[in-house]
Amino acid sequence: MSAVTTRRDFLIAAGAATGGLVLGITLPVRGGAAPSSTDVNAYVRIGSDGKVTFVVPKSEMGQGTYTGLAQILADELDLDWGAISVESAPVNPVYNSSFAPMQFTGGSSSIPGSFELLRKTGATARQLLVSAAAAELGVPEAELSTAHGVVTHRASGRHVGYGALAARAATLPVPANVTPKAPADWKLIGRPLPRVDTQGKTDGSAGFGIDVRLPGLHYAVIARAPSFGGKVASFDAAAAKAVPGVVAVKEVPSGVAVIATNTWAAIRGRAALKVEWQGAAAAGLSSKTIAADYAERAKQPGVVVHERGNVEGAGAGHRLEGDFATPFLAHAPMEPLNAAVAFSDAGLDVYVGTQFQTVDRNAAAELAGLPPEKVRIHTRFLGGGFGRRANPFSDFVREAVAVGRGFGKPVLTVWTREDDVKGGYYRPQAHNRLTATLGADGRPLAWTHTQVIQSIIRNTPFEAMMRDPKTGIDVIQHEGASELPYKVANLRVAVHDSTLPVPVLWWRSVGHTNTAFAVESFIDECAHAAHQDPVAYRIALLEGQPRHLAALKLAADKAGWGTPLPKGRARGVAVHASFGSVVAEVAEVSLVGGRPRVHRVVAAIDCGLAVNPGQVAYQVESAVCYGLSATLYGEITLADGRVEQSNFNDYPPVRMAEMPAVEVHIVPSTAAPTGVGEPGTPPIAPAVANALYALTKVRARRLPLAHTTFA
């Protein structure tokens, strides 16, 4: 074994138990002691049988990260696509994100944050194999080439497979500063390769969290308070225990758990349970009151979070005002929340589809009274995440640990769909009030944006990272508002921090879903007030924003912006930057029976280098669909402190018949990769709303659009 210092970590090679090569990373060891082979946390394992395994620290929730990351590593290793298998990593600091000191998947950060590390890891592993081959064949390294998992001596044609070289490679010193391939030599990066996880996702064998089956496994559901913040006052378990299959009824911090031999019995047991609740913080709360309060507050100045020029001194002109209200939204991933726990003498094993491995591991350890190293998180496939499985409070993992602790057998705690829809941790409700003063040329002289919204990170460790200590406002409350890309000399963005007792969380694209709807609707309003074409108006104001311009022009061009449409159809546009990328979308709409119908969406994304253009396109299409569900229908409302929705009947996502044709175009780029999973979401609501305005001259002031009469 040997190690070498890189800027960030020690890249380290070691022999695998099977006699192969493990290339991984170890953190600098206190006292300078050499790391032992057991400290090696692999990114890549090459077995003596030639099997190459990529240990992925990121969670696969549909975004294709297993595929894109494997593509980078496989390319540098000169492997054929399909010759690398993927497994999920355990929790270890070596797998921490380059964006935060924790292992997580979110913020559209997986490819951007891993690209250089994986290139270097793959190139280093390849170099070790080449060195081993040089020794094996007795030839200079310079005479060797790698391809298809084999090192070949070009002159003689003699060759050795990686498997046969792995054990020797593990004994060699790890070379420092190996240069990854030049982009011109990439064979896999930049290609729309098929996903690595498709087979199991078409034959039922893919293992999601909810599919864990352990010997002696029991199943639990939890009765939770009908209003947020409510606690158990008392409960009567007699009727629940009488349900065949129910094994135990126990109080847990979030309510009363019913444990049974199968999920159905647990659900029936819960229905028979009698629970008295007390002390709900959200008692009496109603969405209508919240909306009215927010609208009123938005007229007041708020805490200024971003300012340039002098809004008051900008001069007189045509003044516009626009109010834009957005509701709470549930993430509603297709796989309901769940986590399985198994206590043993070796500690605690947690089987879960999570985006937040480190946070969940620490929460489970704390609750179980175990040292963190005794808690093992087994990351399963996630049946959708969208942010809901990245909870700083680890709600569903804590619950599962509380349920399973002391039970004596493994327990899988499952949320029903009703639990999920009613269970909180929503995208925050918000109110955005914008004003603009247009000069004689129609361009904004001044622009103000005042927002009322809860903070997602209140009382979490993320406050230290994301809250501005000067203002007390966190950056994700106003992201997408403060970075206004349009050329406006006098700008003020202000926030009213709301402190409702409704649990809120990041929802695909986080603050941008609220702000993009407001900003991109309002700039459209400005364009119409100035009697200018919405695309031309934006282009004029995007001077010095080459990525916005490129995405906007590409989308407009491919959508045939300005060309005639059949009667009853209209187009709308929006462009928005988030997670390092810029996405423009043109939506084509009509009214069917008075209701909006989106027929076609043409999107253009600048995400830097597209590692897998196919998956990039699918993610943008996915974001369009996810955002469209919220645009047309999605809202969680409270009445008398209780959530009014319960399942897909009253929280309806877009179905197949309503899915528009989606075309995605990628702006050619050789820049470092930027986010892909989320940036397609923010533009869809304003693009659709703007198209409906073009069609009907009715401006949507509120989402979902189901509240607006367009006919």
Binding site: G62, D197, F208, P336, G384, N647
Partner: protein
């Protein structure tokens, strides 16, 4: 209760009102059939009963006497099922993948009844199958592919 699943007969210690979904998943460990809503709203639990697509989450075991249940785990044993799964792979359909068992089971049932479906046929037959990842357009393409091209 006695049920026939994927050609095998199982004696289950379960009440007759237990939905098939939970018998499959929790009693038989056939976890390919998914729980999504529990109310026949999302289609993730779609299986075949005597070849017809049904939502396992609202189908009680008592309704299955003398009937044959087929799940995603066995659909690939039929020529049509295999063809549909292959089309799904060829079109790179799944993202998170959670809904895809149900989508495939609905697609196979559609193609069995309508070998050359139109877009409209597909939209109608699969409108009960939700996908939060938005793979609908590729699902439609995969069904056309399995049918041997657009109708």
């Amino acid at each position: 209760m006695r049920i026939d699943v994927n050609g095998q007969t199982h004696e289950l210690d379960a009440p007759p009102e237990m939905p098939l979904l939970w018998a499959l998943r929790d009693l038989l460990s056939l976890t390919g059939t998914k729980f999504g809503c529990g109310a026949a709203l999302c289609g993730a639990c779609t299986v075949h009963v005597d070849g017809q697509p049904v939502r396992a989450c609202v189908t009680p075991l008592s309704a299955l006497a003398d009937k044959k249940v087929t799940t995603i785990e066995a659909i690939g044993a039929t020529a049509l099922g295999r063809k549909v799964q292959d089309a799904w792979v060829a079109e790179d359909v799944p993202q998170c993948g959670y809904c895809q068992s149900g989508q495939i089971m609905s697609a196979v049932a559609l193609l069995a009844a309508t070998p050359k479906p139109t877009d409209e046929d597909i939209n109608t037959a699969l409108n009960g199958n939700l996908c939060r990842c938005g793979t609908y357009n590729r699902i439609r393409k995969a069904i056309h592919r399995a049918a041997g091209g657009p109708a």
